[in-house]
């Protein structure tokens, strides 16, 4: 019967192509707009590392001013970056399974070729655990180990793009790159890796491209690497040297740990509390004890990676879909009124109201399906527009299979919902009256 209903629905759609086109267009526009915003929302709010998001934790310790909280709007929240020296100490103590301190910086690369000019490249200064913690994929080599951190080895991991630029995409492991007058040995080249959002550093932009290379955190002092990311300070300090800056109360280092289970999490929090207790004895951390660790999704929510504006926009776009559906309902009512004679005939020939209702629902589901297909095309256009307008990283806002099936599903369900009332109405028409008026 389903196939028969599909056949009848296609005939009915062809019978009045203009009205069918209007209904399909109304659903397509609604789906196009709502799926564009939904896709953006989905990409922004998705779990960027589902296999580990519950074992990776960002660390926050309240070393802020005793006179006022870090965030007046959320006074219970500690600042979410650490001082350099606290982070360095935590790395040294290595109390977690894995840990990394990190910040954004940049270095001047001096290419070997005579014709090429030096250029600046963004770098993530991090501990060697970074790569294993965040499941960074490599095409050549790998990350550096803790001994390289400890020995302050001049090693570098390149992104695929930077390796392409410097070495034409060849396996460059073991080759050298000159930066800031120092030779760095390439130990690895990472494959395409675009965690979305960039969960490990939402502070400096959850939707930025990843840095072009990675170098050890332990080189910060030697290379006098400044942060190109956010830094916050509350204390008036007399800083005249880089070393004094590193030992200041300025907060500019992000810190992540990997903890396998709740017990490890509790133990790590106890460790942090003990560390802060020790620091309090030295006159630091004057605010009440307030250490927090956040798993990845908590960290995303903490930083409102999905802005409230985006949520409002999502709501508005679904309101727009609703308006489109109301238009579709009006069109369906008109269309179905024109079908009362045929429906009355079918009723006379043995179709129950239920059978007729199903037949109409199949038709609106098909209209929804067609609207969904066209809506997908419109959503693609919309996403391309967003990518162009906001200069988003390639692939940030893409329609994956989940979103495609969702679009079609939402469209079909929307069509069916729009068709419920018109279908019910047409089933209530007394067949005898319609047949006699013919």
């Amino acid at each position: 019967m389903f196939n028969y209903n599909v056949k009848l629905a296609l005939k009915s759609m062809r019978r009045n192509p203009i009205m069918t086109s209007l209904m399909v267009a109304a659903i397509a526009v609604g789906i196009g707009v709502s799926m564009t915003t939904l896709t953006v929302h989905y990409m922004m709010s998705g779990d960027p590392i589902p296999e580990k998001s519950d074992v990776l934790f960002a660390v926050a310790m309240d070393s802020w001013s005793p006179l006022r909280p870090f965030d007046e709007d959320y006074p219970e929240r500690p600042p979410h970056q650490l001082t350099f020296h606290d982070a360095e100490r935590l790395v040294e103590m290595a109390q977690a399974k894995r840990q990394t301190a990190m910040f954004e910086s940049s270095l001047i690369i001096e290419p070997d070729g005579q014709d090429e000019l030096p250029f600046e490249a963004g770098a993530r200064v991090a501990s060697g655990d970074f790569f294993a913690m965040f499941n960074v994929p490599f095409i050549y080599g790998g990350g550096w180990d803790r001994s390289a951190d400890e020995s302050r080895a001049s090693v570098v991991v390149l992104t695929r793009d930077l390796n392409e630029r410097l070495f034409g995409g060849e396996d460059s492991v073991g080759r050298r790159v000159t930066m800031q007058g120092r030779q760095f040995q390439v130990v690895g080249v990472i494959d395409n890796w675009e965690p979305t959002p960039r969960f490990y550093d939402p502070i400096n932009g959850g939707f930025q491209e990843i840095n072009e290379m990675f170098i050890p955190y332990s080189l910060t002092l030697g290379l006098e690497l400044g942060s190109t990311g956010s830094d916050w300070g509350w204390k008036s300090e007399d800083i005249t040297s880089f070393e004094q800056w590193l030992n200041s109360e300025a907060l500019w280092v992000q810190y992540f740990v990997e903890l396998d289970n709740p017990r490890d999490r509790d133990e790590y929090l106890s460790y942090l509390n003990a560390y802060v207790g020790e620091q309090k004895k030295r006159g630091r951390f004057e605010r009440p004890l307030n250490n927090e660790i956040y798993n990845v999704m908590e960290w995303m929510a903490f930083h409102e990676v999905v802005a409230n504006d985006a949520k409002v926009l999502l709501g508005l776009s679904f309101m727009f879909l609703l308006v489109c559906l109301l238009s579709t309902i009006a069109l369906l009512l008109t269309k179905f009124v024109g079908k009362t004679v045929e429906i009355s005939l079918r009723r006379a020939l043995g179709a129950s109201r239920r059978v007729i209702f199903k037949q109409q629902i199949v038709e609106v589901a098909l209209i929804g399906f067609a609207g969904g297909l066209i809506g997908l095309g419109l959503a693609r256009l919309g996403l391309s527009g967003i990518e162009a307008v906001y200069d988003a990283p390639p692939g940030l806002v893409r329609l994956d299979w989940v979103m495609m099936f969702s679009a079609i599903g939402i469209s079909i369900v929307s069509g069916m919902i729009a068709g419920l009332y018109p279908a019910w109405r047409v089933c209530q028409v007394p067949p005898a009256a319609q047949l006699k008026t013919q």
Binding site: R15, E342, R347, A348, G350, R354, P430, L435, K436
Partner: protein, 246 residues
């Protein structure tokens, strides 16, 4: 085959009540060919709609092919209608964008018959009405008489126990009307019960029995081909109607 007893049907609006059928009692035996006549508003169509389970009624009882169908729900009525009743309408009521095969197929689809069974029934039915060679045509490619024959084929394909025809020749010229009547007589001769509403006395006389309705009641009920004597109406127990007729 069909037994209606004291059927009451009232159409109500905010302003008026119209009594379409008043205590109508009427029966049709299996294999009969009954013509139903009467002036406009006499209740012919209402009777046909109730007989065809297309309308409900306020009071009385209705037994069709041995089953009391007075209080069936919509699903049961539809199923029973599909299995027992064939309709022939004045305006043919073919679906314009379906070919003849698919038009005849409509009631069979709702019966849930397998495709091969449906195909055989459709071909047989179109064969009977002489349109087997045109089963891929659409209704607009046929004359009025041919369209009505398709409608008859559609009614026959379901092998109904009773055929209800509402002015089946009303939209046809005389020649075509006679062709359609010939066909109905043939179908009747094959054993199908037929109840036909008509305004045309000549056509009514081709039936076995004429029932005349006035104001929702049976005013006369007579055999045509047999003794041509009035058959006492079940309502004539009061003697009023027969007295009025005489």
């Amino acid at each position: 085959m069909l037994q209606m007893t004291h059927i009451q049907k009232v159409y109500r609006t905010e302003l008026i009540e119209t009594h379409a059928l008043r205590e109508l009692t009427l029966s049709v035996a299996p294999g009969e060919f009954v013509a139903l006549t009467g002036p406009s508003g006499s209740g012919k169509t209402t009777f046909l709609n109730i007989a065809g389970l297309l309308e409900s009624f306020e009071d009385g009882s209705y037994v069709l092919d041995g089953k009391d169908v007075s209080r069936l729900n919509d699903n049961e009525r539809s199923t029973y209608r599909n299995q027992k009743i064939g309709f022939i309408f004045q305006s043919f009521n073919l679906i314009p964008d379906l070919n003849l095969f698919d038009n005849v197929d409509v009631p069979l689809r709702y019966r849930g018959l397998p495709a091969s069974d449906r195909k055989q029934r459709i071909e047989n039915a179109l064969e009977i009405v002489g349109l087997a060679s045109r089963m891929k045509h659409i209704p607009a490619q046929l004359s009025g008489g041919q369209q009505q024959r398709v409608a008859i084929a559609r009614a026959l394909a379901g092998e109904p126990r009773i055929l209800l025809a509402d002015e089946p020749t009303g939209n046809l010229d005389t020649a075509m009307a006679h062709q359609v009547m010939d066909l109905l007589e043939q179908i009747h001769a094959d054993g199908t019960t037929i109840v036909m509403v008509t305004h045309d006395p000549d056509l009514a006389n081709r039936a076995e029995r004429n029932i005349h309705l006035i104001d929702g009641r049976v005013a006369a009920d007579e055999l045509v081909f047999a003794a041509r004597e009035p058959v006492p109406s079940m309502q004539s127990e009061t003697g009023e109607l027969l007295a009025a007729q005489s």
